[in-house]
């Protein structure tokens, strides 16, 4: 048991913090996640990996605790309109992405902007993005963890990535063609 805790604890705690919980809340939810994990271990049927199952428990606890995080998906997705507005009727770019120097994304300041932009995203978008990019889960696994279809995970990833690009452009980190 200890080896399992040791192996997964840093990832679970990081995900709890990444979900927007404050440090004390994140630690408490992490602890509860492992307690539930071991309580229910005998019921684990092996249909998903242990890691996927553990993260599923974590996110259920996060969304239980922060119901407003789960609710914010209901609002109209303005980001879809923003995406549409970048293309003409034939699907060609009207405002193509402006090339930026490679160094820009590595800069600490840019990382801070990305973090702030991500914090503005709805909870499931943010969770999907972090589970994919930081924890390396597949879209099918993310679907299991967050209780979404794989198609919905794709839509969610599309929205959050476009949202991030738009947010960074707004902050002057990514311009658009004149």
């Amino acid at each position: 048991m200890r080896s399992a805790v040791r192996a997964y604890l840093p990832h679970v705690l990081r995900a709890a913090r990444g979900a927007g919980l404050d440090p004390a809340e994140a630690e408490e939810v992490t602890q509860r996640t492992f307690t539930t994990f071991f309580e229910k271990a005998q019921r684990f049927e092996g249909r998903s990996s242990v890691r996927t199952w553990l993260f599923g428990i974590l996110y259920r606890k996060i969304f239980e605790r922060r119901r407003e995080l789960a609710r914010d998906e209901q609002r109209q997705e303005a980001i879809d309109e923003a995406f549409e507005s970048r293309f003409d009727e034939a699907g060609r770019w009207i405002r193509p992405p402006h090339p930026a120097p490679d160094a820009a994304l590595a800069a600490k300041e840019t990382r801070r902007h990305i973090s702030e932009c991500l914090d503005q995203a709805p909870a499931r978008q943010k969770a999907s993005f972090l589970l994919r990019e930081v924890e390396g889960f597949s879209t099918a696994e993310i679907g299991e963890i967050l209780g979404m279809t794989q198609t919905n995970v794709g839509v969610t990833l599309h929205r959050v990535r476009h949202r991030l690009r738009e947010c960074l452009e707004t902050r002057g980190l990514r311009g658009t063609e004149p």
Partner: protein
């Protein structure tokens, strides 16, 4: 022929499986610098967030304290498994 809009959506949604779609994306990227830049930016965003997470590991003392708390709780509950 795949449009820029279809490509941007497919890349961001990771709907790139299947050889026909894969080939359509590759062919489009060969002749479209704007989409090539879009793909690069999507990948860069992921790299940046991943690097930030890797560069900021959780505090060792916090992890140790939490590990002990978890093990203590499990032991108190009689070792659920």
């Amino acid at each position: 022929m795949m449009s820029c809009k279809d490509l941007a959506r497919a890349i961001a949604a990771e709907e790139t499986s299947g050889w026909r779609r894969w080939l359509a994306i590759r062919l489009h990227l060969l002749r479209c610098p704007a989409c090539k830049e879009y793909v690069k930016q999507v990948h860069d965003l992921g790299d940046c967030v991943r690097n930030e997470a890797c560069d900021s590991p959780e505090d060792a003392a916090t992890l140790e304290r939490l590990e002990e708390a978890i093990m203590g709780e499990i032991d108190r509950d009689g070792g659920a498994v």
